[in-house]
Amino acid sequence: MMSHSKHLLRVRLGLVVTFCLAALAMIYLSYALPRLLPGDFVTAMYGSSQVTLSAEEEAELRAYYTQEPGFGSYLLKLGNLDWGYSYAFLRPVAELFFEALPWSLLLLGSAHILSMLIGFVTGVEAAWRRGRLVEKGMVGGMTVLEGIPEISTGVLLLLIFALHFSWFPAAGAETAYAQVSFMGRLANIGHHLVLPLATLILAYFPGNFLLTRNSMMMVIKAHYMTTATAKGLPPRRIRYAHGARNALLPLVTRFGLRFAFMITGALVVERIYAYPGLGTLLFNAIQARDLPVIQGVVLMSSLMVLAIILSLELVYRFIDPRIEDASSF
């Protein structure tokens, strides 16, 4: 028993070390890559941007960027939220980042949780009806959906529901300058969220569906399911309390990783619906070639993703110790 809990501790420590290494690698990349640029940083940054510098501004910037700060003080600057100054938006990068972050977290978080839940429930129900026409149709439909990238879903939903039917707004996260009550504002935000959220869910729940269905198919064959049926328990109880609980494991072990998968999709979807999150900020920064913003957003959102995945992994390992064995192969 003692050695087992020691083993668990070691696995968890290993996990923390892995994620710290990944974070360090990201920070080091964002520190070292700009220094690998040929010529000097100022020419590279401002030479191609839409900003014209006067001679003294250029000299000042050059003096600022040629003082070699070293990796240690770079880390210190990151910790002090000193991530540079955007020359396209004329504001500190940290300010821009924290303004966009809540919208991205709202979109990504709700999309992740909902696509997990929907995928799980439909997967369990499909496995329960195995061999029937409904199940075959569902599996076929999900396989097709799995093949449609969120760029396509996003543009199509925009065409149908925002342009053709005008049911939902085509851009933004809330109506600007609308003087409404708190509840009215919430409804407004929800209304704007529907299309981007639906796009992400449509892109990610088929994967969860197929995963759940496959693991549920194995569970259904287990003897304890026969026992539960023989005891005369109500079908829904057999399905969820006895079956689905045990089919949850493969889904749970991929919870964090699937969140990381969604990042690329979220960038694209935010741009399609002009949703004011980190994806749109990044897109605008790329268009204006605003390197400090690109660098800041890339680094900080990667670190945030790492932190989120790590905490998820630790939490569900705590909830279900079987995961140690399941994810070790």
């Binding site: 892995t18 994620f19 290494l21 990944a22 690698a25 990201m26 990349l29 964002s30 890559l33 700009p34 690998l36 640029l37 590279a44 396989t143 097709v144 799995e146 093949g147 449609i148 990238p149 760029i151 396509s152 543009v155 199509l156 925009l158 065409l159 342009l163 197929l210 496959n214 194995m218 990783l257 990381a260 990042i263 690329t264 999709g265 960038l267 694209v268 741009r271 399609i272 990044l282 897109f283 790329i286 268009q287 070639r289 390197l291 690109i294 660098q295 890339v298 680094l299 959102s301 990667s302 993703v305 790492l306 995945i309 790590l310 192969f329």
Partner: protein
């Protein structure tokens, strides 16, 4: 074993559909330039004109023929996916086999590196390098391959460990087969189903990444790409360009990703009983 595999796979409708689509895309990829009616960079036509007999998909905002653009774009996206997928597969197999076969410290270091890479969001590294250095698409494909091999190598490593324990490999070692002989003669050929799954998964990811990066405007703007076409067309979405400009690249991209998904899913499905057996043996 291999015969049975190909026999089963041919009866799977997903595989047949996937193969059919793959042939169409291969034709578009290889025959694209001669098939294209115009030079896709020729800007001498009337901008934003609807479809006509001469230009089946019309003209875009820069006065370029959209059908020719589309053929070149498919070619670029497919090429990126294939190159990146193949490189990721090669790296993944090499590292997975080494980790599984040699074990010990090699295994520990390689798998730790794999874990670290698995945690890093690949798209972020690509955006950073693309924004700073504006590398060629081929360099980006290679960087992507260097970031996405770990999941391949994890599967290969697990399979290597189990094949190493199997009787025929032990027998080969007993009759004096050397390390490299066994790796070459038994290990590499027997992992072949994993290559198909790994390659399909990585190529799919790479094509999606290419489209996303192009959509975000991180490639050379004159390079034709499905993502770039969607991005440009989306700027005029309030105009009547849906059917001839926006939908064709969307349809192509979806069909392309579907092709790879179908192939991956059908191969995985056929191999599942075998993989399940192996996993069952391990836990027993």
């Amino acid at each position: 074993m291999h015969l049975r595999f190909s026999h089963i796979v041919m009866r799977d409708p997903w595989f047949v559909i996937g193969c059919g689509l793959a042939i169409v895309f291969a034709a578009a990829t290889f025959l694209g330039p001669p098939l294209a009616p115009f030079d896709p960079w020729d800007m001498s036509f009337t901008p934003i004109s609807p479809a006509s007999a001469r230009h089946p998909l019309g003209i875009n905002d820069a006065g370029q023929d959209i059908l020719s653009e589309l053929l070149f774009a498919v070619r670029n996206t497919v090429g990126f996916g294939l190159v990146s997928g193949m490189m990721a597969l090669a790296i993944g197999v090499l590292i997975g086999v080494s980790a599984g076969w040699f074990g010990g410290v090699t295994d520990m270091i390689l798998m730790r590196v794999a874990d670290v890479l698995l945690a890093i969001p690949a798209i972020m590294v690509l955006i950073l390098t693309a924004a700073l250095f504006r590398p060629s698409p081929w360099s980006l494909a290679m960087i992507l391959a260097l970031l996405i091999w770990p999941s391949v190598s994890k599967g290969v490593r697990a399979q290597t460990l189990s094949i190493r324990q199997s009787l025929h490999v032990k027998a080969a070692a007993q009759i004096g087969g050397g390390k490299w002989y066994i790796i070459r003669r038994h290990l590499i050929p027997e992992l072949y189903p994993l290559y198909l799954i790994g390659f399909a998964a990585k190529a799919r990811m790479a094509m999606f990444m290419e489209a996303s990066l192009a959509f975000l405007g991180l490639f050379d703007p004159t390079r034709k790409s499905l993502g770039m076409m969607i991005s440009y067309a989306l700027r005029y979405y309030y105009m009547d360009i849906w059917w001839n400009w926006l939908l064709p690249p969307i349809l192509c991209l979806s069909l392309l990703i579907m092709t790879v998904t179908f192939l991956a899913i059908s191969v995985e499905k056929v191999l599942d009983p075998r993989l399940r057996e192996i996993l069952g043996e391990e836990t027993a």
